[in-house]
Symmetry: C2
Subunit: 210 residues, 2 copies
DNA sequence: TGCCAGTTGGCATATACTGACATATACGAT
DNA sequence: ATCGTATATGTCAGTATATGCCAACTGGCA
């Protein structure tokens, strides 16, 4: 039951953080950990905010100070990864093709192991089981789309119209999402970055022209 | 204020329906109409179920017997169109290419005018204004994806792997969605089917290989 | 007519979420 | 070391969504 929290506790801590900040980070991680425990035990809907707050030893009011909604705690991890992808895309140079850049970044997004990997699988399973969560998840995908679109706009500059940028971003993210579920359906056995790369290759090949 | 309901009232009614069924259909449409009125007057969040029920002259309890949630009433129309697209795809023959079939169906989904067109624009504007609605909308897109995937599986038969079918469905729906917002951003001036066709053409051309 | 089934309203309740205020405590300055 | 302040948290009250239950009404039909 405590496995998530323990493995996190073993991670190297950021230094130079005051006690306040450390406690906050700890509380946040504690809530997230018990949330994933409860979700995988009872499912998402069956788990109440009250239960999560109880187990994490905070008041329900405090829960909402850390996560703006019940869905948020489920998706916070992936949301963070998306922000990271945005930063990585910022730095990405222009020697390679667009597809190569995206393949590298979307792939690296997915290459985390250990805790993140486990939670990613739990998340994918919950989403597959409960369609209502799909909506919230697709909202996340829209955020990723915005990051990708921003990157594309910068890389393509004046050469591409704004509509084409959004079209491309939508398509790339669709590939990313399809790849994740393809990976999760296979139980997480193969490597997600490989699946993403393969799917991108299929598209740039003639798959669309069947 | 009453314009939506009036224009609906002028539509030819299905016959052979008992009084009960007709009253039900009327109530449902009344709720939907006042909902769109209120949404475009005050925005989505500012409108409560109580208000909608009040104006539609039903109890809040009854509102939830017609629409399972507040979002549902906003998306019911598009959801119905998606079901219609599914039926149309069922009937579509095999003489044309996949892209041609999808172009025709997704296009016809979007070719309704009058009431549907107006509500579609209101919907798009609300979604653009309020990101929270985007999640719910993206959930709808996932339903459309399922319909498209079903169609693709039938048409491609054994020749394509299940993963490829889902990948293709995700990509096609991404194009559809990007096209809708491209259309709505332009104020609904150009023809949505044309935009969809153009975007599909761009993709089957070399856009991905930039 | 009178019964049956479907529809509705009203009430109670669970749950998600928010604002206001009070309290405790880490932090920074002396 | 300690004192004042900013920050984090808890408590409480309140709103909105959503659902179950039961009683009352009503259309459909024998």
């Amino acid at each position: 039951m405590e496995k998530h929290r323990e493995s996190i506790a073993g991670r190297p801590q950021q230094k130079q953080l005051g006690l306040r900040q450390r406690k906050k980070a700890q509380t946040r991680e504690a809530i997230e950990a018990v949330a994933f425990d409860l979700f995988s035990e009872q499912g998402f809907e069956q788990t109440t905010v009250e239960q999560m707050a109880e187990r994490a030893m905070v008041s329900p009011r405090t829960f909402f100070r850390y996560f703006s909604s019940k869905e948020e705690v489920l998706f916070a991890g992936e949301r963070e990864e998306i922000r990271r992808a945005g930063r990585l895309l910022e730095e990405r140079g222009g020697q390679e093709s667009l597809v190569e850049s995206l393949e590298a970044i979307l792939g690296s997004l997915a290459s985390e192991y250990g805790l993140d990997r486990e939670r990613r699988l739990i998340r994918a399973r919950l989403i597959s089981d409960h369609p209502a969560l799909l909506s919230a998840y697709m909202g996340l995908m829209r955020d990723l789309e915005a990051e990708v679109a921003h990157f594309l706009a910068r890389r393509l500059g004046e050469t591409a119209a704004a509509e084409d940028v959004r079209l491309l971003a939508a398509v790339f993210v669709a590939v990313y999402r399809a790849s994740i579920f393809q990976w999760a359906d296979a139980g997480g056995k193969s490597e997600l970055p490989d699946i993403i790369a393969a799917n991108l290759k299929k598209l740039t090949g003639g798959l669309l022209r069947i």
